[in-house]
Symmetry: C2
Subunit: 170 residues, 2 copies
């Protein structure tokens, strides 16, 4: 019973970190917001592994995982990039982060009905969110990193998520 | 082909309104944030109906709908209530909105694997989110509405979502 609950607990931790990251963004603490997304990446990496290790993988767990992923790697990084950089570009910035989140949801919905194992179709939202959080950290530490870079990187990640590119699983 | 796309377009509109509501909350425009959630309630009410009317209901559409619902009726109302009222209560306020979002995700995951028609198990997240947005509107217009009320209402909605209460479908 306890073993059964551990993977879902990791998923809920992932979701909680996503919510706290958004709150950190609202409070203008972009460093903390990025770190919390990276903790979510770690937490997301272990829940599926634990579920398979304990042989308790379930449809419920898979659904919960996708929902948490959208918040932590779709919504939270989009808001972080918006607050940190893209809000300076008016409606274009707004459009880019809404499209990023839509692409993340689209990819998760497609993943849930495809049931392909062995590789991912399109860049996983976990990668897109973690990569974005890492770049925001870099932009906060390196004055040389121009915020305008997200005008290219965010739409690129948006495209890569909904693309049909095969990405190997590790 | 166009008919097939209309319900998913409504779902994506729902998700976009949820994201714009969060941005409005970040910009301290709580009135707009609440209105955008209520537009999402409307948009969410028609996508499933259109899908069944056009006989294009799909697993993909159902997955996308749940993902959008979590953002528009889980994350957006939680952040709105936090910014408008619960942020004044420190960690308790933070805990309450994280638990609200977790309960919403839990309910959506359970709904997706139960496949019960005719009634809902637990209060739907759309109702919880719409009700919260309506109350925030009321609190903005009526000085008599105390923000402390959300210390009771938010945990109550959290409980009602994960409860086993049967709610009739209309």
């Amino acid at each position: 019973m306890i073993l059964r609950a551990i993977p879902s607990a990791c998923t809920l931790l992932n979701l909680a970190m996503g919510m706290l990251s958004i709150i950190a963004t609202i409070n203008d603490n972009y460093f903390l917001a990025a770190i919390l997304i990276l903790i979510s990446v770690f937490s997301d990496g272990i829940d599926g592994r634990l579920a398979r290790r304990f042989d308790v993988a379930s449809d419920f767990g898979k659904q919960l995982d996708s929902l948490a992923d959208l918040v932590s790697f779709g919504v939270a990084p989009a808001l972080l990039v918006y607050a940190d950089s893209l809000s300076g570009y008016g409606y274009i910035g707004l459009l880019f982060i809404v499209l990023y989140t839509i692409a993340g949801a689209w990819r998760l919905a497609r993943f849930n009905i495809l049931n392909i194992s062995g590789y991912f179709v399109g860049v996983p939202i976990t990668f897109a969110g973690g990569f974005t959080a890492g770049l925001v950290l870099l932009s906060l530490k390196l004055a040389a990193f121009p915020p305008i870079a997200f005008l290219i990187i965010t739409p690129l990640l948006t495209y890569l998520m909904v693309s049909r590119i095969k990405v190997p699983k590790y």
